[in-house]
């Protein structure tokens, strides 16, 4: 049966005007029909909240009280004078600067180690990926016990070789680093899979040719493999930066911003303002929305900058 439209002779009995008929039978209609459910989801759960958040950011509003008051740019002006917002911004930047390079370097090393034919390689690859699919809560509970100052396995093991004890999440100066270690562990598998795929895309004849020409393993990696990994590295840098700037789950569950606000990152601070402290008469949801919008703009600009920079340095194979 020729699939030529299908509405012929069903609901549209009388010859429809040309335009409508063409519309109803065109590829566009079936295309939109296919994507309609997804579009509805994106509009309802994505675009509408984004627009609502923008409106909210210009209001003095709490989430419980229905009262709304327009305050123009007052919420945005307040951010600069808020020491806790500054602390959250600094914490977020420190976290991102630690998390992104460490996770990329570590995953490159692990991917390199897994990119070979040895016994049980599938098991190793699976093992590396399991933390990614483990829930944040489970990871959090595990690290809380592992990193417990007095009873944790980490201090016990480090004590055996004469180091520590560390306070980890309990020590204001170590909490952020502990958080980085935990999240790098949690996301290592994802980055590793991307690098592994990219490594397997590097043609072996290139490295073989280099070896014949007398290149050392290091220069062969540095001059051939690393440039070939450029697109993967770009993807990971962009993606890791975005997710690092939006860190929330681990902070919410493991440190709750503490001790003394040393792990309070921007999204967590936004949550505290909107859903914990500003629910009643303080009406801080609008202010929280303003901070969220500033973060959005920062991420947008940063991502554009990263792509702009990447065009100059990343090598794409045809």
């Amino acid at each position: 049966m020729p699939d030529d439209g299908g509405l012929n002779g069903s609901s549209v009995a009388a010859p429809a005007p040309g335009r409508l008929r063409r519309l109803l039978t065109s590829e566009h209609l079936s295309g939109w029909t296919f994507v309609l459910p997804a579009v509805i989801l994106i509009v309802v759960f994505g675009l509408i909240p984004i627009a609502w958040g923008l409106i909210l950011s210009f209001q003095k509003a709490g989430l419980i009280s229905p009262e709304r008051e327009w305050v123009g740019f007052e919420n945005y002006a307040r951010i600069a004078a808020d020491p806790k917002a500054r602390q959250a911004a600094v914490n977020t930047i420190v976290y991102t600067l630690l998390f992104v390079p460490i996770s990329i370097l570590a995953s490159l090393l692990v991917a390199h180690a897994l990119n070979r034919r040895i016994a049980l390689i599938r098991f190793y690859r699976l093992a590396v990926f399991i933390p990614v699919v483990t829930s944040t809560i489970a990871t959090g509970i595990m690290f809380l016990w592992l990193f417990d100052k007095n009873f944790g396995l980490a201090n016990w093991a480090l004590g055996k070789i004469g180091i520590g004890p560390f306070g980890f999440f309990e020590d204001p100066d170590q909490a952020m680093v502990s958080l980085v270690i935990m999240t790098v562990w949690g996301w290592l598998g994802f980055d590793t899979i991307i690098y592994l795929a990219a490594l397997q895309g590097v043609p072996p004849e290139l490295t073989e040719a280099a070896a014949i020409d007398g290149a050392s393993r290091w220069s062969s990696f540095w001059r051939i493999t690393w440039p070939m990994l450029g697109p993967a590295t770009l993807l990971l840098v962009v993606w890791s930066t975005i997710s690092a700037l939006q860190l929330f789950d681990e902070v919410f569950f493991v440190t709750h911003g503490g001790p003394l606000g040393r792990t309070s990152v921007v999204v967590f601070y936004v949550y505290r303002l909107a859903f914990e402290q500003g629910l009643g008469g303080l009406s801080l949801a609008g202010y929280a929305a303003a901070i969220a919008y500033v973060l959005f703009l920062v991420i947008l600009l940063l991502t554009l900058a990263q792509f702009w920079l990447a065009r100059r340095v990343v090598h794409y194979t045809s």
């Binding site: 299908g6 079936s30 509805i40 999440f169 309990e170 003394l260 303080l282």
Partner: protein
């Protein structure tokens, strides 16, 4: 029908399913028609849930026209969940809320003002514990009915005291006695601590310290509630005690996540806890004793943490039904059943003063009688204010900061007072 038209049809049906049906049950009908079903949020688990469900079954069997449908909502997130429900325009008919959330809940549309209702004789409002009545009142309006009342006392491990050759705590203990005992009980090699403290800088870090402030004669805010007062010399002295124990004696287990102290106490790693009756069931492996809080200058007052039932008016006679149900649920007879099954402290004076009954409770859960009597030592309540969540955070941060040795008690409290004053000014 061809494939494409089939897809179109299915798609339109999906769309119809998405847009339709959202009006169900949303708009309140004016007349109560037939039986009413009440949505009832609570955060009880284990024995508490069993006891509550037994009461609900009893009510539902006797009242075919008012059916109560319970829904579990974690207490710690009950305020957030309520916020979401309000955004959707469908709050529950009755919800459990922490007393500290009440100032925030007060702004909610549809929240029922119970001021007049509690004066009806059947409610017997004066019979509720005074501290709980005070906590239910925001700006002179009664916005909740007390659901649960706690207080803090001293729980100690008898075996550890025996091993260390120490006498058990007595009702006339001072905080210096506690400090000395904590030091004697601490053994770093054994990883044993004399005392423990919640260090997550939440309200938990604050209200364990409030009794010390009050016993010294200090207060959280000035009398007119316009400024912070906890950084007074009394407050500084009260914090110096805890800071000295944590920093100089190292006799305090600093529970940063506020989640480990119960299991550590149950494992014999902690000698004494300042805690409430809700923790007693977590200590099956310890021969524990309970004593009222130590005091400063003979003042042994403690603090209560009352939680509330709040009512929302969803029309259709549901409000009246909800009030009728809550009056029954919080009546002396039901309170007794619940307390005996769960170890909750009596929220009614008539139950708390019934010595035979309290003795019966103590048999079920040792130590509960001390907590029940300790309700007499509740003299003050925390302020119920819009700005309180921020004041609480500032105070919690100051206490944690001093106990970690990050700053001196006075400097920490002064900084917190400044932040609190800013929050108070903002709230107006």
């Amino acid at each position: 029908m061809t494939r494409r038209s089939l897809i179109l049809l299915v798609s339109l049906c999906l769309l119809a399913a998405c847009t339709g049906g959202s009006d169900d049950g949303g708009s309140p009908s004016a007349e109560p028609s037939g039986p009413v079903t009440l949505t009832f949020w609570h955060g009880y688990t284990d024995v508490e849930a069993d006891s509550l469900n037994a009461l609900l079954d009893e009510w539902n069997a006797d009242h075919p026209d008012i059916q109560v449908k319970p829904l579990f909502v974690n207490n710690d997130k009950a305020l957030q969940k309520l916020t979401v429900a309000l955004q959707g325009g469908e709050p529950p008919d009755i919800t459990y809320q922490y007393g500290s959330s009440l100032a925030s809940v007060a702004a909610a549309p549809g929240l029922v003002d119970l001021t007049d209702w509690v004066q009806t004789p059947d409610v017997d409002w004066e019979d509720f514990i005074p501290g709980a009545r005070e906590a239910a009142t925001v700006d002179g309006k009664v916005l909740g009915i007390p659901a649960l009342v706690d207080n803090l006392a001293l729980v100690y491990n008898k075996d550890l005291f025996d091993q260390a050759g120490l006498d058990y705590p007595t009702p006339d203990w001072t905080w210096d006695d506690l400090r000395a005992a904590a030091k004697a009980l601490t053994d770093p090699a054994e990883k044993r601590f004399g005392f423990a403290y919640p260090m997550d800088a939440s309200e938990d870090s604050v209200w364990h310290w409030d009794p010390l402030l009050w016993q010294k004669g200090g207060s959280i805010l000035t009398e007119d509630g316009s400024k912070a007062a906890f950084n007074s010399p009394e407050g500084v002295e009260a914090l110096e005690l805890f800071a000295g124990m944590a920093v100089d004696d190292r006799s305090v287990y600093l529970d940063i996540q506020n989640s480990a102290y119960t299991s550590l106490f149950n494992n014999g790693r902690i000698g004494m806890l300042e805690t409430g009756p809700w923790d007693l069931a977590s200590f099956p492996d310890v021969d524990y004793g309970v004593e009222i809080l130590p005091g400063f200058d003979g003042d042994h007052q403690t603090i209560a943490g009352p939680d509330m039932w709040c009512v929302f008016d969803n029309g259709g006679g549901k409000k009246e039904a909800a009030l009728e149900f809550l009056q029954w649920l919080t009546a002396a007879e039901q309170v007794q059943k619940e307390d005996l099954a769960t170890g909750h402290l009596p929220i009614r004076l008539s139950v708390a003063d019934d010595e035979a009954f309290v003795g019966q409770m103590a048999e079920a859960l040792p130590g509960v009688d001390v907590f029940a009597e300790n309700l007499q030592n509740v003299e003050q309540a925390r302020p119920v204010l819009d700005a309180y969540p921020q004041i609480s955070e500032a105070m919690g941060t100051a206490i944690v900061s001093a106990m970690l040795g990050e700053s001196e008690p006075k400097a920490a409290l002064d900084k917190a007072a400044q932040e609190s004053n800013d929050a108070l000014a903002l709230a107006g």
